[in-house]
């Protein structure tokens, strides 16, 4: 079907560009490493406190990586006015959104999967038995974050002060995602039973569905104002 072929073309193009610029993804990763470094200094690290604030540290680090990484996701589209080409294209615009969203999701997940072991190493976490729930939490939280991030990246990339506007729009709306992710992660890290924090994951799932569907529908208007 043409709808899916559009998604495929967009994702193909993004992944190919990303592959040609492998430094890009590694730079994101080193950015996150830097964030860890700064955090570990800025927060006192006695074992009790660290346990308290670890979920926060993890998600704030992912959050800032998302701000830097997703914020530039549509830059490639405005550089040579490709957004304009999309606008004049006789295809469903939502498919373009989904293509970009999938690319961004993959990108964020990759960075997170590489970063998790580093957190474990640097902060001496003990998470092996909690790996599955943690991965699940990452996935559902990242879906919501990417959905929002993709939408706002498309929106702010055409705006004058885009570097600032992107986080200003993204952060407030992603607060629910942060809360859910932090609380669920806290549960997992302190070894609670899954059922004790699974309601947070359900909450995240609800947000995911809402954000993806609303963004999908609303994207039409970003390209066709």
């Amino acid at each position: 079907m043409h709808f899916f072929s559009v998604i495929r073309w967009i994702a193909w193009k993004d992944l190919l560009s990303e592959y040609r610029n492998r430094e890009n993804i590694s730079s994101m990763f080193f950015f996150a490493l830097n964030v860890i470094l700064i955090f570990s200094f800025s927060f006192s690290l006695d074992p009790v406190t660290i346990k308290e604030i670890m979920p926060g540290i993890i998600w704030v680090a992912f959050g800032f990586t998302a701000i830097i990484g997703l914020g530039k996701s549509f830059l490639i589209e405005v550089n040579n006015d490709c957004m304009e080409y999309f606008q004049t294209l006789p295809v469903p615009k939502g498919a373009i959104y989904l293509g970009k969203f999938l690319g961004n999701l993959l990108f964020m997940l990759t960075v997170e999967v590489i970063l998790f072991p580093l957190f474990v190493l640097f902060f001496n976490l003990d998470i092996l038995d909690q790996l599955l729930p943690l991965l699940l939490i990452s996935a559902v939280a990242t879906i919501g974050l990417s959905a929002l991030g993709t939408l706002f990246s498309a929106l702010t990339v055409q705006v004058r002060a885009r570097e600032v506007m992107f986080p200003i729009l993204l952060l407030p709306l992603s607060v629910p995602i942060f809360i859910g992710a932090v609380e669920a992660t806290r549960g997992a890290l302190s070894g609670d039973a899954f059922s004790m924090y699974s309601h947070w994951i359900e909450l995240l799932l609800v947000f995911d569905v809402i954000f993806v569907i609303v963004s999908f529908w609303i994207f039409e208007f970003i390209l066709d104002y």
């Binding site: 430094e23 590694s26 730079s27 490493l33 470094l37 690290l45 190493l121």
Partner: protein, 237 residues
């Protein structure tokens, strides 16, 4: 031309550095790993010191040479000096990674953690990240002069980290071993000092040898690129 002259010098002397480095490392490893006695507190684990310390020191030596080459480049703007900078940065990253790795391995039994947020370890990690940033900056710049200049600037400003690494154990109370050789004298057992010294000089010379070889390689790559672009006028003069 300057470049060919310089490269000629490198080619002439490189093998001596290689040979001496090989000998020193061989003897150092033998005395360190086989003949020297285990540490009173740490036991056999201490032998990783003969790798860890030379690597960490050489990483700093390598960064220092990167620093000097960068200043040299800004002063003279010889593209072959930029090749040397590039080589020194790569090697510096290699030895830094080696120091981090061996240190972590050593840390697990002694501190019961792969990593602690101690000043020396952190400042060493800063150097690691600075070098990564350096090499990354190079890949993102296409223009040759711009790349050489900008990366030199970064290397120079990043040099501020080196004294921090070295003196952090003095300035802050820290977990890491204090300086064993300092103005206050030598605090190390003699039968450990000999392999230790051999290894330090050996790995240092090994770095010098690798730097010479790598600089030539990068220079040749640059010539090849030039040749592909039909500009042989530069290298052959």
């Amino acid at each position: 031309m300057v470049a060919t002259h310089f490269i000629g010098k490198l080619r002439k002397f490189e093998k001596w550095f290689g040979i001496v480095a090989g000998v020193l490392i061989a003897v150092g490893l033998y005395t360190g790993l086989v003949t020297s006695s285990p540490d009173y507190y740490q036991g056999e684990v201490v032998r990783i010191m003969y790798i860890h310390v030379p690597f960490a020191q050489t990483a700093m030596l390598a960064y220092s040479s990167l620093f000097l080459c960068s200043i040299w480049y800004l002063w003279k703007r010889e593209s072959v000096v930029d090749n040397a900078c590039h080589a020194a940065a790569g090697l510096s990253l290699f030895f830094t990674a080696g120091g981090l790795l061996t240190g972590s391995i050593w840390g697990k039994p002694t501190w019961n953690a792969w990593w602690v947020w101690d000043p020396r370890l952190t400042s060493f990690a800063i150097m690691f990240l600075t070098l990564v940033g350096y090499l990354m900056l190079r890949t993102f710049l296409d223009d040759k002069e711009k790349r050489a200049t900008f990366s030199a600037i970064l290397a120079i400003i990043g040099f501020i980290d080196l004294p921090i690494i070295h003196f952090s154990v003095e300035w802050w109370r820290s977990l890491h071993q204090p300086l064993s050789v300092s103005t206050r004298g030598v605090s190390i057992a003699p039968d450990m000092l000999i392999p230790f010294t051999l290894m330090s000089f050996g790995v240092g010379l090994l770095f010098t040898y690798m730097l010479m070889v790598r600089t030539q390689m990068l220079y040749l790559e640059h010539l090849l690129e030039a040749k592909q672009g039909r500009l042989l006028n530069e290298g052959q003069g």
